[in-house]
Amino acid sequence: MKHLPRTCALTAAAVTMLSLAACSTTDPDASGGSGGGAEGDVTTGSGVTDSEITVGMLTDLSGPFAAGAAVQVTQTNAYWDQVNADGGVCDRDVVVDVQDHGYDPQRAVTLYRSMAPDVIALQQVLGGPTSAAVLPLAEQDDVYVGGVGWTGSALQYENNQLPGASYAIEAANAVDYLVDELGVPEGGSIGVVYFAGDYGGDALAGAEHAAEERGVEIVAQEITSQTTDLSAQASALVQADVAGVVLAAAPTQLASLAGVLATQGADVPIVGMNPTFNPSLLGSPVADALLANAYSITSVAPYASDAPGVQAANELYASVAPDGDLGWEVPLAYVQGELLRQALEGACESGELTPEGVVAALQESSSVDTDGLLPDGLDYSQAGQSPTTTVYVSKVDADAEAGLALLEEFSGPSAESFSYGG
């Protein structure tokens, strides 16, 4: 191979010539207007055919959130079946493409890549790290993403639709509720036990804002999801003589905290955020402590609400999964479907049934109503801010369905004065 260098040079030159000849920087579609055939008056895009609209759902069916996610998948499929039976959206049937990322960001990103050309919107991307990986890509592609949870950090994406109030708003309301209704005096102190990370951090920010407004002290205790014994945190709270506790964690932590506080003789109200209560806790030894002192603040109306939307959601779920687990996922999955349906219909009305059209419809919706599943008048036109300041306050109650009895819709003064980035 003495001539290898010359052969190489020739080959390289030829390849370069060929690839340069094949290059082009003028977009043939640039002047041709929108892609996709116009059907009637509606422009269509990815995931839309003459008879079908495909929406995506990236969820976790084999990782830590498998149980709750399965409930949501069942309910979501049932919801769209019902919509299709009533005539569909924009004269088309809606099909759900469910994919399982197993809480792995790498898999979520690749699944998103394979899904993006074939869906008009993503109804859900479950999980913190997974949605954090997908959201920026979806924003670049101008694809609607719903159901990524309630963390404030998701609000910076204009393509994201938050189902109700963010965690900071929930926590600010929790402090307001503790002061106004549960007897925390001015100058008293409130414990905040929170997960390290975006969920707990967001909740802490809201609670700190509210504490400043209401003149109370915050006693913050950071934990991780691996912390299952909260004796140390409970002791610290008792020592600081707190008059109430805000908990931004998971059911395991609620059980531990309520149990330990009760045995230490601290009879103080515990207010948990969205995911902290699970009906199965009522079968555990701490049930009495929970019944006495535990409250839950949720962005979505609890299962036992008598609002027409919630009743419709519950009936639908009961008809498709008579033996399924009950819980806050049932109304949540329903309302996420409802929010997306409204955005799709908005896009249809504006004649742009494309991913971009759905995002535009979302950004124009300044007063969304959902039959009592979420607080009325959700405002998605203010990018970066929570769509509402209203939350649902429930008390743990053995007689209520799914263990939570709705007390009231609540919007406290410090929740109303809270603003992100301000």
Partner: protein, 403 residues
């Protein structure tokens, strides 16, 4: 002759890799980016564990350092995070350099510990780095991480913009296509360097230190220096891999660089065959792509249940396949996939390219006696005749790498 064939095979693979973006869809392109990033990390680890014989469970920590150094140095300062605003090429170089620097700082520890003790010490690095990533929020963005500026070179951006539209042969080249070529270049260069390094004086010295520190010292090799050098080089590879992962995601978050990522790197090199560059690449391909491909094509596989319906779903299936593959390789394939490939070539008459990974490994040693390729002893054959090299010590059987 065999060398020529291997070169031709490598060239053919390279041409295929160059042409792939013309036909692949976004899913395969994204998978390819992850594979190439993982491959560079695995090659770095195989130099450290396979060639130099130092067990490391902290590879993900160095990858994290690389990823965040790139993200910070090229990022702009915003309301939530600070950034250096440097050119991306400089950021990429810094990612490798800073990771190498941290590796150098850690090398006194690495020089004093061996085997499982070194493994545990490096395990600590993963947790320290994770703690820092979560708490230095001004630099890292905390739990949610920070976004990553796309790579650009002299006005040409490896993203969907600048130029907004670029087509080759009628196929529109978007960010993923452009990144593919950047990653391919980095991967080929990294593998070529690693192959040469392994066959060089330095690589032989590392292998010698692995097999017997006393013998190595007697041969005039600075044992501490050799160990430190291996750690530094491996860390630089990990840093580059981390920066590439950051580019492939478009965002960095601490969860990507967990202990699981470290273990995955180890699985890659064990599957591929310790010490083999080509093996590391194939291992990276297998470990990275398998779960992604199974998840994507689950609906086409009749024995898999739809996600959520309660049967054997694709995620679980990929984990089972993964586990079975590791056991099968450890039990049946001495020397991993690289060892198997070498024996196969030997049986076929000592010629022919290895087919699957020849492009990236110009220096796989020739077929040795089958008994020499025990899994832990790697593939380095220090007895290659070359008068100027000091590594003439031939052990009938290499000692365990991970004492």
């Amino acid at each position: 002759m065999s060398d020529l064939l291997r070169r031709l095979g490598g060239l053919a693979l390279l041409v295929v890799a160059l042409a792939l973006p013309l036909v692949l869809n976004d899913f395969w392109l994204q998978t390819g980016l992850f594979v190439m990033a993982a491959a560079i990390g695995a090659v770095g680890l195989t130099l450290l564990v396979g060639v130099a014989g130092q067990l490391s469970l902290g590879h993900a920590a160095f990858a994290a350092i690389g990823a965040y150094v790139y993200a910070w140095s090229t990022g702009e300062t915003t309301t939530s995070v600070t950034g250096g605003g440097l050119p991306p090429l400089l950021g990429l170089a810094l990612a490798a350099l800073v990771a190498a620097g941290v590796g150098a700082a850690f090398s006194p520890v690495a020089g004093r510990l061996r085997g499982i003790y070194l493994g545990l010490a490096t395990l600590g690095l993963v947790f320290i780095v994770r703690h820092l990533l979560l708490n230095l929020t001004d630099w890292t963005g905390g739990f949610t991480g920070r976004s990553v500026e796309s790579f650009a070179l002299g006005g040409f951006s490896f993203s969907n913009r600048d130029p907004d539209y670029l087509a080759v042969g009628g196929v529109e080249f978007e960010g993923l296509h452009r990144l593919w070529y950047l990653f391919l270049l980095l991967a080929v260069v990294a593998c070529w360097l690693a192959g040469n390094l392994r066959a060089s004086r330095t690589g032989r010295a590392w292998a010698n230190v692995r097999d017997s520190e006393t013998a190595a010292a007697a041969m005039g090799i600075g044992v501490a220096r050799a160990k430190a050098a291996a750690f530094v080089v491996s860390s630089a590879y990990a840093g580059t891999a981390g920066a590439m992962l950051a580019l492939a995601y478009g965002r960095v978050a601490p969860d990507v660089f967990s202990l699981t990522a470290s273990v995955d790197f180890l699985v890659m090199i064990v599957l591929g065959g310790l010490g083999s560059v080509a093996g590391a690449v194939v291992g990276a391909l297998f470990v990275t792509a398998l779960p992604l491909v199974l998840a994507e094509y689950s609906s086409a596989l009749p024995f898999l249940a739809a996600p959520g319906s309660g049967g054997l779903d694709p995620s679980t299936a990929s984990r089972i396949v993964y586990g079975v593959a590791i056991i099968a390789v450890l039990v049946f394939l001495r020397g991993g996939l690289a060892g198997a490939g070498r024996r196969l070539r030997h049986r076929l008459g000592g010629g022919g390219p290895s087919g699957d990974a020849g492009t990236t490994d110009p220096d796989t040693p020739g077929p040795g006696p089958a008994g020499r390729t025990a899994p832990a002893s790697g593939t380095t054959d220090p007895s290659t005749p070359d008068g100027s090299h000091p590594a003439a010590v031939t052990h009938p059987r290499s000692k365990e790498t991970t004492r």
